[in-house]
Amino acid sequence: MANLKPPLPRALRPKPKGPSEDNGNAKAGLKDQAAEKGITVVDWLDERTSLSGGARWMMFRKIPKGTNWFYTLGSASMFAFLSQAVTGVILAMYYDPSATRAYESMRYLTNEVFLGEFVRGMHKWGSTVMVILVFLHMARTFFFGAYKYPRELNWVIGVVLLILTLFFSFTGYLLPFDQRSFWATTVGVAINGTGPLVGPYLNDFLRAGPEFGTTTLARFYALHMLVLPAMIATMIGAHLYLVARLGTTAPPWIRADIDPDLRKDET
């Protein structure tokens, strides 16, 4: 049980000093000074937080033989989410969640604001991309058998993330507040209401009353950009922690290497 810490990659290892730098009197170059300052700052932070160990634990992991492009679907989903988060925050700067002004604020954003249509398009199409990526990631996990022991909990967290993603899609669809989004949400809420016993009450909760009212849109907006992001960020954190803790699986077609001596004994 020697050093279990993964070794530092070559680029991060301290370089031995060159012969010209050995002289203490020689004035170090600007580049060296900057590097020195950088190291000082990182050291200062690390001495007080001890974060470098965790960062290395997260980033420099051993991955199994046979790891391939399918293993990037998880990161792709995460980057799709980050894209939604960033564009969503900026869109919120222009959006007005009131039933009488929401459509107008979106019209203004789309037609008048520099890059407005582009960033809104990123958010709109990005949401579809995220749902597709999440499903592909789920399919990869299923077909590679990566949900089995000891990764069952991560599968469960993944299902929660899928449901949260779909809640995002549902609540976000209303926000443009055009005819399509209004009627799609009317239908969506009605579907939600067909759940026996609790359905009618859940509908009243979602709409903030028995009819689509003054606060319905604000409620969807608050869920979409305050409640759900907090929940999904927490869950993504847990998901990533478990990935780093448990490691990834090899694809099912990769066989474990058997010690040739062991095979000899059997025969």
Binding site: A99, I191, F212
Partner: protein
């Protein structure tokens, strides 16, 4: 026959449990007391902001929705063999979103067989499809209400004639005031046109439907109707 099993005696006081620094007759150790106090204080502090916030969020479920009567014109406008569309304001203060179309006609003695009372001399049919809530349209030529979304069809009385809807179209209470027709709150009906408190689309009211999809405190039909 059973010999009394020797259970280790549970110490009654901290002194008996030989906890260092125990006071005489003390039953809860000071460490446990302190832990309990801290947890209780934390719980109360968390509840102090969580409960009001949750109450604010779920309050509308229990709050009674205000209803009003709205005049839709003189009674002479409405015939008993066809519908006239009228626009109602269901929710005030949110512009067009709060408005909805209703189809209105006079009670037709040849056709309608529900008991007459002060609220159905004129029949006001809601345009929300009882499949999933899309807006239905009355087609004069076929005397049918037709939904554009999933093919729901209703007959002249608003009863289901085909497609996925689970119950007849909802109705509104109507009353006559000084020669004008007024339209009031909405109610739901089952396939025999019996009145129920308003339900959302997709909720059947025949058989056990009214119990599986209970009435909500936020909207009720007029008592005794």
């Amino acid at each position: 026959m059973s010999r009394e099993r020797k259970e280790p005696k549970q110490p009654k006081t901290t002194a008996e449990a030989q906890i260092p620094g125990a006071f005489e007759g003390e039953t809860v150790s000071r460490r446990r007391f302190m832990t309990g106090t801290a947890h209780t204080a934390g719980g109360i502090a968390a509840a102090a902001f969580t409960l009001p916030a949750v109450g604010l969020a779920v309050g509308p479920v229990f709050e009674k929705h205000p209803t009003h009567w709205e005049s839709v014109g003189p009674i002479a406008d409405f015939a008993d063999d066809t519908y006239l569309p009228r626009t109602l304001t269901l929710v005030r203060g949110i512009g067009d979103v709060g408005k909805s179309t209703v189809y209105i006609r006079k009670y037709n003695t040849d056709l309608d067989d529900e008991t007459r009372d002060e609220y159905n001399e004129y029949i006001a049919i809601s345009t929300r499809c009882m499949h999933l809530g899309c807006p239905v349209r009355f087609v004069e030529a076929s005397e049918r209400f037709i939904c554009p979304c999933h093919g729901g069809v209703y007959d002249f009385q608003g009863k289901v004639a085909g497609g996925p809807p689970v119950r007849p179209l909802d109705r509104f209470y109507t009353r006559v005031r000084k020669g004008n027709l007024e339209v009031g709150p909405r109610f739901s009906v089952n396939s025999e046109l019996k009145r129920f408190s308003p339900r959302d689309p997709g909720m059947p009211l025949d058989g056990i439907g009214q119990y599986v999809y209970p009435a909500r405190p936020s909207v009720r039909k007029i008592p005794g109707t």
